[in-house]
């Protein structure tokens, strides 16, 4: 899932200055799982903004609303008229949600309440770790299921650098050395010999380096177009 954290409150408070009617718009998928921008968090954030406004004597109306997802239009299209009635939508969805709502909302600005950070998982409650970099050309079958691009601070493809210290990365003791993990894992699987093969320079064009991506599934896009025509 996509993991993000709510922006620091002072930064959000600055963002809403000058607006009279603000909607804090939550999303109940990824950002709800990381307790950053779900319906509950949107409600709390809206309350805090109202309390701050009361303290500062600022006249501002703040409401909250949430839908299941901001990345598929059928969820917020149901409430889009209501959403358009505000001067500012403070989106508590991830960056995808902010961008996508902006495309469909018309003349109302959409600001981000979330700093979207990475693709990750939840090893235990309250802990979120980055596990994938979305490089577009997955080689996890060659590294025992452990991603060197996302989890090695230098995205090395052929083995560790000289900075590994007791299994930790030179950048921080909180970061496991991905290559240390890869070697141990492949030992466990009996496939260590695969690591002797040299991985040639990657084609990064499949990742963000190649420009923003667009994928079209013809068989679905065509079917939908036919439906619409009917």
């Amino acid at each position: 899932m996509i993991v993000g954290t709510q922006k620091p409150f002072p930064e959000i408070w600055e963002m809403v200055q000058g607006f009279k009617r603000v909607l804090v718009f939550g999303c109940n998928t990824c950002v709800a799982i990381c307790h950053a921008g779900g319906g509950k968090e949107a409600e709390i954030l809206a309350t805090m903004l109202r309390m701050k406004a009361a303290e500062e004597g600022v006249a501002i109306e703040v409401k909250d609303l949430a839908v299941q997802r901001h990345c598929e239009p059928e969820y917020f299209d149901q409430v889009i008229e209501e959403v358009r009635g505000y001067d500012l939508v403070l989106s508590a969805a991830c960056g995808v949600g902010v961008n996508f709502l902006t495309q469909r909302i018309g003349n109302v600005p959409v600001y981000p309440a979330i700093n979207t950070s990475f693709y990750g998982a939840v090893p235990k409650a309250g802990v979120f770790v980055e596990l994938c970099a979305g490089c577009g050309n997955c080689v996890l079958h060659l590294t025992g299921g452990i991603c060197p691009i996302a989890r090695c601070s230098k995205s090395l493809m052929n083995g560790p650098c000289g900075g590994t210290d007791k299994g930790k990365c030179e950048v921080s003791k909180d970061i496991d050395c991905a290559w240390y993990l890869i070697v141990e894992r492949m030992k466990e699987l009996g496939t260590l010999a695969k690591l002797s093969e040299i991985q040639p320079p990657r084609n990064w064009a499949t990742a963000r380096d190649g420009g923003p991506k667009r994928i079209v599934l013809e068989h679905i896009a065509e079917e939908e177009a036919a439906e619409v025509k009917k």
């Binding site: 409150f9 309390m51 701050k52 406004a53 009361a54 303290e55 500062e56 006249a59």
Partner: protein
């Protein structure tokens, strides 16, 4: 507690919020807690929110 952290972010003294655990049968204890807390809050004075609202009404 998490809510106290949020209060601090807003510049509100976290001591203005306390959680107490009692059963419906503990009437006297309930009265005692209320009285004590109200006295405590009187000493604290109006919260920043109360202050802010009062200023708004004057404007």
């Amino acid at each position: 507690m998490y809510v106290k952290k949020l209060m601090t972010t807003l510049g509100i003294d976290p001591a203005r919020l306390e959680m107490f655990n009692l059963s419906a049968a503990q009437g006297p204890r309930w009265a005692e807690i209320c009285t004590q807390f109200i006295e405590k809050m009187r000493a604290f004075g109006p919260s920043p929110i109360a202050d802010g609202l009062r200023k708004q009404k004057c404007v």
